[in-house]
């Protein structure tokens, strides 16, 4: 996957008031500023690598992932990627609280582009990986956030993507689940698939990723091998050094 000269801006409204009256009152001029959340980002994610994105809050990591996942469309630059992409951007995204875990697996699977046959075939595997068998017929509104993530992650990896994009969500899972994910990422790597993940835990990134990119205020600081990137990031922090 290759990202080339990517820039993304948001409109910041001084008084966001989505009503007809305010638009008419304002006249043709709308009072907004362009805020560039990503500025001219270019890097390459080697196929088959596990790629970590690091940076402080608000540095644009989630925005970048959303551009990769085609939720936002960048103003400038291009993203070239090969194969199917699955994204897990937030805990329980795409779940319907009133429906059971089972119904949600089918619904979420089909939102992510799986056919019903495919989901039926993989259903046991999904439930098995998520470890929520006991509660699969309960409405998901009764799930804990850890269970949400487990089920969501289990579905996303079973989409059988060539590129898997994961935001900070894994931190919600317990140690056992994190270990499961780590093993899964190793499997992915062996199968020649790419994983792109965001984490604030440098030990996780160190453990799981072979490549990394560091974003700061929407700009790319460095990208490359994981270890030097992480140490450069840590050095830049005033309390740098302790993991």
């Amino acid at each position: 996957m290759k990202v080339d000269g990517l820039s993304k801006s948001f409109r910041l409204y001084h008084e966001r008031n989505q009503s007809l009256k305010s638009t008419i009152m304002r006249g043709r001029r709308s009072v907004h500023e362009d805020f560039w959340a990503l500025k001219d980002i270019s890097f390459e994610v080697p196929t088959g690598s596990t790629f970590g994105l690091i940076g402080s809050n608000g540095s644009g990591k989630s925005t970048l992932l959303k551009c990769l996942a085609k939720i936002y469309y960048p103003e400038k630059g291009t993203i070239t990627s090969r194969g199917r992409l699955a994204a897990l951007l937030e805990v329980g995204s795409g779940f319907h609280p009133e429906l059971s875990g089972r119904d949600n697996v089918f619904l979420n699977g089909s939102i992510l582009g799986m056919s019903k046959k495919e989901i039926t075939r993989k259903f046991d595997e999904i439930v098995d990986f998520s470890g929520v068998e006991q509660f699969i017929d309960q409405p998901v509104k009764n799930y804990s956030s850890g269970m949400y993530v487990r089920l969501g992650f289990a579905i996303a990896i079973n989409v059988d993507p060539d590129v898997l994009v994961v935001d900070e969500v894994l931190a919600v899972g317990d140690a056992e689940f994190q270990e499961k994910c780590r093993l899964k990422f190793v499997d992915f790597k062996e199968a020649g698939k790419t994983v792109i993940l965001v984490s604030h835990s440098m030990s996780t990134v160190q453990d799981m990723c072979d490549h990394a990119a560091w974003l700061n205020h929407g700009e790319l600081v460095t990208a490359g091998e994981a270890t030097p990137t992480i140490s450069a990031y840590l050095d830049s922090l005033s309390f740098g050094g302790n993991l």
Binding site: F10, R11, Q18, S19, L20, K21, T23, K66, A69, K70, I71, Y72, Y73, A87, L89, E90, S93, G94, H96, E98, L99, D103, F106, L107, S110, I111, L112, G113, S115, K116
Partner: protein
């Protein structure tokens, strides 16, 4: 054309979302799907008392069916209109209602408004089934007309979907749209011959005569409303049991295709910005 292909590729998701809405709708209610009948029945009761009993509106009897029952005559026009108005009003909120999904998952966004129209269409199908049973009991031989009724239902659904696609986008940018449309629908039902026969409008129009030296009459303007044609066609088929006017059917079909074309165009131009605008 490529866009249509993309939409077609999401048809399984569309079916699943529609089923989700249908299943989720009356979950944890005792009467379930029967609730879908309560609204039209309550409206029918009120309108029948006010307009047939107090104001003494008398629609012409069904020709050739010979039916002369106000509530049944009313329902033949009311059910299509309530489908239309409910699907426009619910459908236009569908992107806002699923904001979480739109902001976090990539999929063909058009399935959201379309599945709403689909699920309300399912309720309508159920209501029309009950209406057909009532018509048969009242002695209208409606069975041979059913395939054509179904076709007209599809055309009306296309018309509604076209409007929904425009309004759902407008509603994301200007949240006033839904209140505005709410009022518009209240006016629209009275601008359509649903609770009164069109003959009353014809009589007034003839009395006033051509407008301002042109040969346009009040009736001509009144009949620009596509819902007037839809209601006329549904009544011809269900209540009168005869072929509708070719002109009316054409007017319906052309409005539906035009609405859908505009809807697809507007939706397609704006769908990429939806995740940020929410």
């Amino acid at each position: 054309m490529r866009y249509l292909k993309e939409v077609l590729a999401s048809r399984e998701l569309l079916a699943n979302l529609t089923l989700r809405e249908i299943r989720g709708q009356y979950k944890r209610t005792v009467f379930g799907q029967l609730w879908s009948l309560v609204n039209p029945l309550a409206t029918m009761l009120v309108y029948t008392i006010v307009f047939a009993f107090i104001l003494r509106v008398t629609p012409p009897p069904g020709d050739p069916s010979g039916l002369n029952i106000f509530p049944v005559w009313l329902l033949c026009g009311l059910l299509p209109f309530t489908f239309f108005s409910a699907s426009v009003q619910t459908g236009m909120g569908s992107i806002l209602a699923n904001a979480g999904l739109v902001q976090k998952v990539h999929f063909s966004r058009i399935v959201l408004p379309l599945s709403t129209v689909g699920s309300i269409g399912f309720n309508w199908l159920f209501e029309m089934g009950v209406l057909v049973a009532v018509l048969l009991i009242c002695g209208a031989w409606v069975l041979p007309w059913l395939p054509f009724v179904l076709l007209m239902m599809v055309i009306l659904a296309v018309f509604a979907a076209g409007l929904v696609l425009v309004l759902v986008i407008a509603n994301v940018y200007f949240r006033d749209t839904q209140y505005f449309v709410g009022i518009l629908m209240q006016i629209w039902i009275y601008m359509t011959p649903i609770i009164y026969p069109i003959s009353l409008v014809e009589a007034q129009s003839a009395r006033i005569g051509p407008l301002m030296g042109t040969n346009v009459t009040v009736l001509d303007i009144y009949r620009l409303n596509p819902m007037e044609r839809f209601v006329a066609v549904f009544r011809n088929l269900l209540y009168d049991n005869r072929w509708p006017e070719v002109n009316d059917v054409l007017f319906c079909a052309v409005s539906a295709v035009a609405a859908l074309a505009v809807g697809l165009w507007v939706f397609r131009r704006n769908e990429k910005g939806l995740a940020e605008a929410l």
